[in-house]
Amino acid sequence: MRRNGPLALIFHAIFVIVMLAPIVVVCLVAFTPEGYLSLPTNGFSLRWFRTIANYPEFVHAFWVSLGLGALSSFVALLFAVPAALAVARYRFRGRDALAALFLSPLMIPHVVLGIAFLRFFTLIGMSGSFPALIVAHVIVVFPFALRLTLAAATGMDRSVEMAAISLGAGGWTLFRRVTLPLILPGVVSGWALAFIQSFDDLTMTVFLAAPGIETLPVRMFLYIQDNIDPLVTSVSASVIAITMTALILLDRFYGLDRVLAGKSDAGR
């Protein structure tokens, strides 16, 4: 294979700098010792991270986001694992249509989903409640949970299952002792990716989040709409740090390239 020429490397360097610039700037400004937006030229300070504690709405929103992400990803898997096993193993009428339906939340603009959920939950009298938020997030993260579980279920070695069946295992025992452990890496990564999607979602959630159950992105968005100050950069930097931690865990567990390759088909 041919090497990159100097021009290509200059292009690459500028490209990478531009891709990283906004993220780096947010993290740098978060450490400013000044009372206004500025790069920390006179040393670093943690004052704006400490200020977060004085804004209980951000702290509360963080816990809402964390609980919502963890719960909705778990519930999504409860539905996605059996569905993935069915799609991976059986060829039945309507299989492709079902798979398309299950992946459809990827293709519907989130603003449309937000409106549909708001209308639905208002009509059934559940609007502004935490359970409504969970149900909505289950739908949105379902495709991510399904994809990774499906990949694991498809690539699984079926002979182990056959052996277990020949030894008399069946039903629940077969699933719990043989099938689930074999697809577990896919299930855990599916959970992690679903969690990140839920944790980051703004567009759909902004329609459903009532005061008291605002998620962190919604709280940040509403705050930014009024004014941009160093406080919101330190909150953003914390969010970036959490996502990075999840990313590294995901990379260790499963390989980030595989997760992202699965995501590449997401928009189709």
């Binding site: 041919r2 990159n4 292009f11 690459h12 990478v16 610039a21 906004p22 993220i23 780096v24 700037v25 947010v26 937006l37 059996p82 569905a83 069915a86 193993r89 059986y90 060829r91 039945f92 492709d96 079902l98 798979a99 398309a100 299950f102 992946l103 459809s104 939340p105 293709m107 519907i108 603009p109 989130h110 603003v111 449309v112 409106i115 549909a116 959920f117 708001l118 209308r119 009509l123 739908i139 379902f142 990949a151 079926r158 703004l202 902004v206 329609f207 968005f221 930014i224 709409q225 950069t233 953003s236 969010v239 996502t243 999840a246 990313l247 980030l256 390759a261 590449s264 928009g267 189709r268």
Partner: protein, 299 residues
Amino acid sequence: MSAVADTTPQGATEERSARAPWALTAPALMLFVGVLLIPLAMTVMLSFHDWGQYKGIEPVFILKNWREIATDLYYAEMFWRTFRIALLTTLITAVLGAPEACILNRMSGRWKSFFLLVILGPLLISVVARTLGWALLFGGNNGLVNKLLMSLGLIGTPLRFMFTETGMVVALAHVMMPFMVLSVWAALQRLDPQIENAALSLGAGSLTIIRRIIMPQIMPGVLSGAIIVFSLSASAFATPAIIGGRRLKVAATLAYDEFLNTLNWPLGAAVAILLLMALVLIVVGSNALIERRYAEAFR
């Protein structure tokens, strides 16, 4: 979607039980019908309802909202702006993302995976945080971007980025770039590097190789990336709302305004449904075009 169709069931012949797959998918199916399909149908219905400042939503069947969108030029202008921004964003990601994917592909193992992580990682970082970064970089007349461009002598007077379409396109292109790089990258993985060497050995120059060998082969990747980027940009919310401010509206931010500020839900629903239909038509249409074009090319 293709990944699902590719997963041919291995034990399909052994398992003839017709009920098992339906029993396994029934919970998810019921969930999707109950909480996705029914709400979507309700939203379509909502767009035909009447609304008044004092009477609220009236469940009747009228075409008022659709007529307003069709006749009021404000909406035509707003949709035109939405799709113009999406198109420009798509062009920028294609022109810059495709060469970058090629450069990445030529790197050696370690560097390749490192930079792939650097470029694709932002995909999973909150869009609010990424857009906030651009708001900081743009920041008024003495923002970092303007300082840099002026010190390089590229511009004489500071450009306005905040609350302009220029700023929206720049920030959106950054948010969407990983999707394009990923899509072209996937196309490159299916490509045989020996073809390039063959062209080289036959005396082709660098430009000829790019134009005659690389371009035609990565084109399907660029086009499928373009479809993803276009549909996500046209329905983007966070970036246009933060960079565009309250006055420069696109479809998603207008629908949000109708729902949560004006409280005219039927009109907001009509805008959202129109956006959904337009996107479905554009995506399905261009997919069909691409498939026909490349079915002929590979015959």
